[in-house]
């Protein structure tokens, strides 16, 4: 990819910034060739990667190096886009929101600094991936479990900071963060919570600060660069029981939600309950053309046939309970009795006990896997995906309403409907997966228009996304309209005060520093 300079930075200024950065990290870790820029491009870009082009990437190895680079970036007015491991697939990968921003790749900062089995937490740097942490736990035979996202190739901290979700009792990953160390836009270094005191052993145990609590202000944020954080982990349970129901009809999701949510809120179910539709299973069975050989959406009659042929329900609930066996058994009876009120068929039950092997794809037991990315092969070619991810109240009424709306919009665009709902408590995350071939320009254009329509229509109905791709960060922020966008005003007031040069991640989540306010809405014009 050719060089796109940051706004108002001349080639000469840019070059002198690169030289200054190399003085901190060494020239090998300043990556500014055309090939390097390609390496940091959005691998699933819906369109040209040049819409979100990095000018270079730089990879510091320590907090001191991060601080030094931030100071130099201020001096040279060169903005930085920090990424933990840069694997935010479906949301922009490592690419920056604003053209010419230098990716700060924290992947070399990959130490597990603490692993505490007694109080069940770890302290990690941003470059630690789910696999790295899982391997460390296995090697040390620590009685701890992770919570992993669908694709676990990425960073533990990066995923939590981006509000990623997993499928265990610790599935709301941002909630597991406790005690953060961050480099501020002026190069200062802050520790939150009890960590604000030197050598306080409760740094990663007590989740609040004395005074305002800033931990989550560093999530989906451009207020600082997180250089380490505590992450709470699940103690390895004595046993676990997976109970699997195939749910026949799309509309059944209503009673399923109304059955599970109260049990989740009461604490009887502690897992984040993931409910994928049939297509989630199908994408691992072959390619789309094996099951439907036309470009048009798979029609309902063919869906019916496929469900029969492959003995699938429209949805599958694979609920998992964790704990001592008598407790799990008692909980299971309550859950089964509740489900039986609407579904006579007995569920499949899979017990696991300490010492039993754990399979490679058991994500609900915290095993990291990248296998869900196989869905890229479903469409073929350079397969890619984007997730449209609104949050709805976890009641049947809201979920059915949301499903009907997305389903109709997606059908109007003649695209396959691939939805999942994850019950996280009083809310459900609805992910509508849109799969496309990056090299099919017509299809990409259609997906972009569809994405625009989904955001607008869903917002009209009163729901918003919890996370989105670079190209829609401004449009989604625009939907948060209370008191004429008071949240964005507040975000930007804080941002501009802390970061007058707009050095850290300008435009992240639609929050623009005054220095780059003219860039709002730039680069992407919506559905074109």
């Amino acid at each position: 990819m050719k060089l796109h300079l940051p706004p108002r930075v001349s080639p000469k200024q840019f070059q002198s910034a690169m030289t200054a950065f190399a003085g901190v990290v060494g020239k090998d870790w300043v990556m500014d060739s055309d090939a390097d820029r390609d390496a940091y491009a959005d691998t699933y870009a819906p369109g040209s990667t040049e819409e979100w082009p990095a000018s270079a990437a730089i990879a510091p190895a320590s907090v001191d190096e991060v601080r030094a680079i931030v100071r130099l970036a201020n001096e040279h007015k060169v903005p930085l886009w920090p990424v933990a491991r840069g694997k935010n697939l479906g949301y922009g990968t490592a690419a920056p929101r604003m053209e010419g921003t230098v990716v700060m790749d924290l992947g070399r900062m990959n130490k597990v600094l603490e692993l505490d089995s007694t109080l069940a937490y770890c302290v990690v740097e941003p470059g630690v991936g789910f696999y790295d942490l899982y391997d460390k736990i296995q090697r040390e035979k620590a009685p701890l479990w992770l919570s992993v996202p669908g694709n676990a190739w990425g960073s533990v901290l990066g995923n939590a900071l981006e509000h990623g979700i997993g499928y265990t009792s610790y599935g709301l990953h941002a909630r597991n963060l406790c005690g953060i160390e961050a480099v501020l836009p002026d190069g200062d270094l802050v520790r939150t919570g009890m960590g604000a005191m030197n050598n306080n052993p409760a740094f990663h145990l007590f989740p609040m600060s004395y005074g305002p609590t800033w931990d989550l202000a560093f999530s989906q944020s451009n207020l600082g660069i997180v250089t380490k954080a505590g992450v709470w982990l699940q103690p390895a349970p004595e046993t676990s029981l997976e109970i699997v129901w195939d749910i026949p009809k799309a509309e059944d999701i209503g009673w399923v939600i109304d059955t599970i949510t109260p049990l989740k809120i009461s604490g009887l179910i502690d897992q984040n309950v993931f409910i994928p539709s049939w297509l989630g299973k199908m994408v691992l069975k072959g390619q789309r053309k094996d099951f439907w050989d036309k470009p048009s959406a798979i029609p309902d009659w063919r869906v019916e046939e496929l469900l029969k042929e492959h003995k699938l329900g429209y949805w599958q609930v694979a609920l998992r309970l964790y704990g001592e066996e008598p407790v799990v058994k008692a909980r299971a009876e309550v859950v089964k009795a509740a489900m039986k009120r609407n579904l006579a068929a007995a569920p499949q039950e899979n017990w696991w006990r300490q010492g039993d092997p754990i399979g490679q794809y058991d994500t609900t037991m915290g095993v990291p896997s990248a296998v869900p990315l196989q869905m890229s092969d479903w469409i073929g070619g350079r397969g890619a995906h984007m997730g449209f991810s609104p949050v709805v109240p976890a009641t049947g009424k809201h979920v059915l309403d949301q499903m009907a709306r997305s389903r109709k919009i997606i059908a109007d665009f003649d695209v396959d409907f691939y939805a999942s709902f994850t019950i996280g408590g009083r809310f459900a995350n609805n992910v509508n997966m849109l799969m496309y071939d990056r090299d099919n320009a017509e299809e990409v254009t259609k997906m972009r228009k569809l994405f625009d329509a989904l955001i607008i229509e869903t917002a009209k109905a009163g729901y918003a996304e919890y996370r989105t791709h670079l190209g829609w960060m401004d449009p989604v922020m625009e939907t948060f309209d209370f008191n004429n966008h008071a949240l964005r005003r507040f975000d930007e007031k804080v941002k501009s005060a802390l970061d007058p040069n707009g050095i850290i991640a300008p435009g992240k989540q639609g929050v623009w520093p005054a220095a780059y306010a003219d860039k709002r809405g730039s680069a992407y014009k919506g559905g074109q």
Binding site: D28, M31, A35, D36, D38, A39, Y40, A41, T43, A57, A59, G86, K87, L89, T93, A94, D105, G107, R108, G129, Y131, Y134, D135, Q138, R139, W153, E242, L284, K285, G286, Q287, D290, E349, N350, W351, W352, R353, D356, P357, I358, G359, Q360, Y361, D362, V367, S369, A370, V371, P372, L373, Q374, S376, D377, G381, R382, G383
Partner: protein, 134 residues
């Protein structure tokens, strides 16, 4: 149809790798593949241990049961090759340059890898390890 048979074969392969599924237990699947620690020393210096680097850095997807292995096994079987060829370490038709190009450019479902994922020195070592065809 051929694909469906292949997928069934893949599941069976996975089952074989799964030591002893408990009676009435979960459906068989391959066990987790623990990766070796990345080699010590300067990641920028030549002479890295290609096999260890491969397993540590590419092992997310390219060990038994991984995303890359699953897709490549399917491709290899469609091409009439034995399923073991889905593991890159079993291939004898890869060249060093090809390995380097795929790693840096990506291919199909595989995203491109940065120099932080794999330095040029590490990529040289991995390419030497996998590139048995020269």
């Amino acid at each position: 149809m051929k694909r469906i048979v292949i997928v069934a074969a893949l599941v069976a392969m996975g089952a074989a790798a799964y030591a002893a599924p408990p009676a009435g237990g979960p459906p068989p699947m391959p066990p987790y593949m623990l990766r070796p620690l990345a080699p010590e020393g300067d990641r920028l210096k030549p002479g890295r241990d290609g096999k260890t680097v491969f397993e540590a850095q590419c092992g997310y997807c390219h060990l038994v049961g991984g995303m890359g292995t699953n897709l490549l096994t399917k491709q290899q079987m469609m091409a009439g090759n034995p399923p073991e060829k889905g593991l890159l370490s079993n291939r004898d038709d890869l060249t060093r340059d090809y390995v380097k190009a795929v790693v840096r450019m990506g291919k199909g479902a595989m995203p491109q890898q940065t120099k932080v994922d794999l330095t040029d020195a590490e990529l040289d070592a991995v390419a030497a390890y996998l590139g048995k065809a020269g």
